[in-house]
């Protein structure tokens, strides 16, 4: 067989496979907390290649996604940034009881795009060397709530209140800080680690005892109860390989929790 014929046959076969895939592959719609955006985008192709299923994520603050699900948004899975909203969904009959598990524990970091502004401690917060401190809206974003809690523990909430700028979610808080419009921002450790090395500026990793742990819960929603793809994704999320990756990307992964 000459080589051009072989190439033709191979591409025909490839095209057939691509066409055939959707028949058994499912499309999975996920509501994903903003802090997990970078990690999700790294995980998605791995999952899609391994299973043939297609992932359709919507990113937003946990509170906003929760409100959307309450109003009938068509998601099969919620990857929240806390362990509260999943329980509320189960209580209201929209989440599948027993399906929830902690897929990651997030870390908060005080970050500046300027090198050397944050000298690895929280001293900068008590100084006059910045005008704006970006956080995620604490009403809807667990990372924002953790930031407020940290400020309260440090006794700085009152004094810094007028300097706070609230992003719609943690991604906007990152963007405010990244663009330099806010000199400081409380963002997720994983967001910072996902930035290209040269742009990492200066930071202070917030000690875990300054706020309640950011336990990020995954939950299967009623609409995904019978979906094989949804189950496959939840298994994938708990696999040792995924957990190792998440560790590398800036999340703690708890020991297998009782389910």
């Amino acid at each position: 067989m000459n080589s051009s014929l072989r190439i033709l046959l191979r591409s025909l076969l490839g095209a057939l496979l691509v066409l055939a895939l959707p028949l058994r592959a499912e499309e999975l719609r996920l509501a994903v907390a903003s802090n997990f955006t970078a990690a999700f985008q790294q995980l998605a192709p791995r999952f899609e290649q391994a299973t043939g299923h297609r992932l359709k994520p919507s990113f937003g603050s946990t509170g906003k996604l929760y409100a959307q699900i309450r109003q009938g948004a068509p998601f099969e899975i919620l990857l929240a940034a806390d362990d509260q909203h999943g329980k509320l969904l189960i209580e209201s009959g929209l989440g599948v009881p027993g399906s929830e598990f902690i897929y990651a524990v997030g870390r908060l970091v005080l970050w500046s795009a300027q090198p050397e502004l944050v000298g690895g401690s929280h001293e900068i917060l008590a100084s006059e060397r910045f005008r704006r401190l970006a956080i995620a809206n604490p009403q809807t974003a667990p990372y924002g709530a953790a930031a407020i809690e940290t400020l309260e523990t440090l006794g700085l909430h009152e004094t810094l209140n007028s300097k706070l700028v609230r992003g719609e979610n943690i991604a906007q808080a990152l963007q405010f800080t990244y663009s330099g419009n806010a000199e400081l921002g409380f963002i997720a450790w994983a967001q910072l680690k996902a930035l290209p090395g040269k742009q990492q500026g200066s930071f202070w990793l917030v000690p875990e005892d300054l706020h309640e742990p950011i336990r990020q819960e995954a939950i299967l929603l009623r609409q995904g109860e019978d979906s094989q793809a949804a189950q496959a994704f939840l298994d994938f999320l708990q696999s040792p390989q995924t957990r190792a990756l998440l560790k590398e990307w800036g999340y703690d992964t708890p020991e297998a929790e009782p389910r």
Partner: protein, 227 residues
């Protein structure tokens, strides 16, 4: 259930923003509209297109570029820092600038139409009566363009009150400074406080309806009067 103090603060802030934007735009848009209505410069098509841009651009485009321009490394940001006022994102001043840009066509276009519809004739007559250019502008153009002036004011005011996307991008949701009504409603909806959201939203609805109704009625009265 009445409005909370935080809600009142958002209402007051929004009214201040809309009033200031309208006043600034009146001063800026009147000469610009006059020029557009009378010039024969080839530039007028390009300028008219630029003025109309906010009508078609998504607010995110304006918000994105404003954030870059006003940021510490942007040209506007460098200027304001040099002047010692810091950067403008997340400030009331920043919102006013954004609103002036965003509502520009709503001020210029009604005025331009009004000036154009007057035509040359009244001015030629006035000129033969030895009225100077200022006199002609003040005693002929402005009174005859009154409906256009009113429409421009009302549309600018109402459009600024209805602004959302740009403010979401450059405001930073600071109570009393950048947390305007539309943002307050958004926050209430996101946190499932539908009662409070409804109070503000219904208020907006009634207010906007009354404003538009008022414009229609007063424009009709002016037209009748002229007949």
């Amino acid at each position: 259930m009445g409005l909370t103090e935080a809600d009142w603060q958002a209402v007051w802030l929004t009214l201040r923003l809309a009033t200031l934007t309208t006043l600034i735009l009146l001063v800026l848009a009147t000469p610009l509209a006059w020029w557009l209505a009378h010039t024969r410069s080839r530039l007028r098509h390009a300028i008219a297109a630029i003025v109309a841009l906010p009508l078609v651009l998504p607010p995110t485009v304006l918000g994105f570029y404003l954030l870059l321009l006003m940021g510490p490394n942007g040209p506007v940001g460098e200027l304001t820092q040099w002047l010692g006022i810091g950067t403008l994102a997340f400030t009331f001043t920043g919102l006013v600038i954004a609103s002036v840009l965003y509502s520009l066509p709503f001020a210029v276009q009604p005025l331009q139409n009004a000036f154009e519809s007057i035509g040359q004739r009244p001015f030629e007559v006035a000129a033969t009566l030895r009225a100077g250019p200022w006199d002609r502008f003040l005693s002929i153009a402005l009174p005859l363009a009154r409906p256009g002036l009113l429409t421009a004011c009302v549309l600018t005011f109402a459009h600024t009150i209805g602004e959302f996307g740009v403010i979401l991008m450059i405001g930073g949701n600071i109570p009393g400074e950048t947390k305007v009504l539309s943002i307050a409603i958004y926050d209430h909806v996101e946190t499932l406080e539908y009662g409070r959201a409804n109070l503000l939203a219904a208020g907006m609805l009634v207010f906007s309806f009354l404003v538009l109704l008022g414009v229609h009625l007063s424009n009709r009265r002016v037209r009748l009067y002229r007949l």
